[in-house]
Structures are given as C-alpha cells and as structure tokens.
C-alpha cells in the first residue's frame, strides 16, 4: 500500500478534528435557531446585504479581475430577512 502523502495526511486529520470540535460545540447548542425569525429586524435591512446592487458589484469585480492575477470566491451569499 502506498504511504499517504504527509501534507495530505495532515490536512485530512486537521479537517476531521476541526469538524468534530465544531460539531460538538454546535451539537451542544439548542437545536432551535439562536436568532429567531422575529429577531431578524437588523439582518433584514438592505444595508446588511453582502451584495446590495448585483449589477454594480459584478462590474467592479470585472474591473479588478482584468488587472489582477487573482479571481473568484467573492460570491455574494447574504443573510436576509428570513421572511416566508
């Protein structure tokens, strides 16, 4: 059997350990959401959106991308109202 690549081995071990710790921490919490739907007043505010104006942010992203080597992972997943 080929030996595991040391870097990969450590990486997986760390992922597993961190996952277990996170699960233990979160599992210990109430199953109920800690921010209730009726407590989302501030989160529902448009100023809390990670991407308030998609047409503008995608243009700016483009301006940076054509000048820089890096790209990606700036996707805008937001919080929102929790309404409905």
């Amino acid at each position: 059997m080929p030996a595991l690549h040391p870097m990969r081995h450590r990486f997986h071990w760390r992922l597993a350990a961190a996952g277990l710790v996170a699960a233990a921490l979160l599992g210990g919490c109430q199953v109920q959401p800690w921010v209730k739907p009726y407590e989302r007043e501030h989160l529902a505010d448009p100023i809390m959106s990670f991407d308030r104006n998609p047409i503008s942010s995608s243009y700016l992203e483009h301006v940076f991308e054509v000048r820089e080597g890096a790209r990606g992972a700036s996707g805008s997943v937001g919080g929102g109202c929790g309404c409905n």
Binding site: L43, I47, F50, E68, S74
Partner: protein, 394 residues
Amino acid sequence: MRHSSWRMRWIPAIAFALIAVVQADVLPDDRSDILYHHFEGAGVTVQGPSVLIRKKFGDSISASYQYYLDMLSSASIDVVSQASPYKEHRTQQNFGVDFLHNNTLYSAGYISSIEPDFNSKTAFLNISQSLFGDLTTINFGYTQGSDAVSKVDKGKHVAISQSGSGAPIFHADADRKNYAVGLSQVLTRNLLLGMNFEVDSTAGYLHSPYRSVRYVDSTVARGYSYQLERYPGTRTSNAASLQLKYYLPLHSALDGSYRFFGDTWGIRASTYQLGYTQTLGSRWTFDASLRYYTQTHANFYSDLFAYPNAQNFLARDRELAQFRSKTLELGASYEFHPSWPHFIQKGSLNIDVERMFIDYEDFRDVLDTQFKAGQEPLYNLDATVGQFFISFWY
C-alpha cells in the same frame, strides 16, 4: 498589437450578477437596473451601458437577463510601446433562471461574450439550500465555459500560429471549469458571516496572440528586443474568502473581508476590504470602502529576460507581475417612490466612484528611455472608475 488584458478573464465575476443568492428560501426581488460605467486611467478608457432585468413567473420561477457593453479605447503602456492605439467593443449577454422548491433555490444560466477576436460561452448551475431555521445558507456552483481566441490585424483575421506542416492556424480554444462552495451564517442578530471557496481550472490557449516579452539584446540601440509570450497550457487556482458584516446602531453597517488566492503559476494574492454603510433619513444611503490587494508574480514572469527563449514559458503581462493596489470607493444612493407608473414600488438613483492606485514592483516603465534596459523606473498607475445607475423594484 493589442492590449488584450481586457478579455479572457471576465466570466466568473459577471456571472455573479445572476446568482443573486440572498437566501435560498425566497426568489430574488423583481428588479431592473440601468447602469453606465466609465473607467479611465493610464491611457485606457472603457465605458458603456449595462441593463439587468429580473422578473418572477408564478411562485417558483424567476428569470433574468443582462446586457453589458464595453467600448474600449486603449493607448496603454503596452500598446504605446509596441503598437498603435486601438478601439474595440465587447458585448456580453447573460440569461438566467431560478427555480425555488421548498428551501432550495436552483439557478442555471448561459453567458455569451463577443469581441472581434475573442468569443466565449459559459453555462452555470448553482444550488443553494437554507437550513437550520434559515440561519445557514449553503450553495454549490458549477461553471463551464469555452473560449475561442483569434487575432485581428487591420480588420482582418490573421494566423495566430502554424501547424506542424506549416499551415496557418487562425483559432485556438480554451476550456474553463469552476467549482464553488459558499456558506452564509447568521451569527447574532447583528452579525453575518460569509465564506466562499472556489477551484478554477483552465486548459488550452491561455496567453494572448498579441503580447510580447522583452529580452536583453545588445545588438540594438535600446538594449532589448521583443518576442511573443508563451504561457503554460493549464492553470488551476484556489480562492478562499471570509466576509463579516455587522449592523451598527444609527442604521449603519460595517463590513470586512479577506480573500486568499493561489494558483499553479505561482501567484499568491491577498485581498483585504473594509467598508462602511450609513443611511441618512429614509432615502439616502452612503457607502465608503477601502480595498488593498497584493500579489506575487507568476514564476515564468520577468520584466526583462536575459536572452531570447530564456525559458519554456515567458510572460511580461502586468497582471502576472508582483504589485500592490489600493482602491478607495465612495457611493451614494437616493431612494424614491414614483407615483407613475403605478406598478413601480420604489426606485433608486445611485452614483459610485472609485480611485485606484497600482504600484508595480517588477514591471518597468519602458517609455522612460533615458535609462538602460532593466533600470527604468518601476511603473505605476492610477485610474478612476465611475458608475451611475438607476434601479426599479416592481
């Protein structure tokens, strides 16, 4: 010879305008935007309009369409030093559909971009799921695209290379694949966390048929000559980011983000951003942000190679150099409620201005001819970006 940095790398960003994942359990708002954009700096002017229309159909479908036009006029340092200034257009169209089923939002779309010498087609699929009492939204995205590269000289297509038998080749292709994972998490009543991870892999013809690198050449008076650039045929990159957004008293918000990027070409980049949003009354919203970006150069980049064909791969593109850039952004938005037409619920007028400063650390200003080759001052540029747009919700 053209400066082709404007092409080739627009796809991931523009695609995001259609993936409007605010939450996975509601469809995005019905909304249309009309935007005018203007970029000016270092001899380059890019401007044009863009329109984004989004509309729901029934309870579970939302469709969107975006039109985007770049009108480019370039006399950048690369163009001036090696060719003559040029103008060209790029037209992009995006089509998207979102389908909502329970707490899952499925999005799919198609993007086409057309230039005289660069055509690109992209399809994307995104699934987002809200869980855990809507405190958490996860999303998975897959994007696939292909590019067709050609070369135009004086309005005619010319060969970009030759086949083994010496026949001219007019087109070359590149394929792109992108996998994205995202998480958005409500931490407290006032604090949101966003995390994104992307793997991007591209294969095929990745360099520009116009661009050159320079090498030391003592047989000419200026001390250097140019040869065409040569990139590897594959590139794989990882990007991971973390964003926090915090609601402050007095109806304002603070946000910060960090992104790390690394690729198989040896580029490592970090992006830091800090932003502040303040509302004034019920109509005005103001934004200010600072962005700081730094990257290392690609391992086959050099401002001046020691001799021709100094290595397998050769690049002297500024995007692959080592540099830092700073951007300051200011924006203002005014909300209004038109009495006509009656189906418009609200509208907003927006203006956004960015000042950008780039300091290259290993790209020299060859236009400064009083220095010997390789001893010219380092190049830097500043640019101004402006956006004006009007939005309607209905």
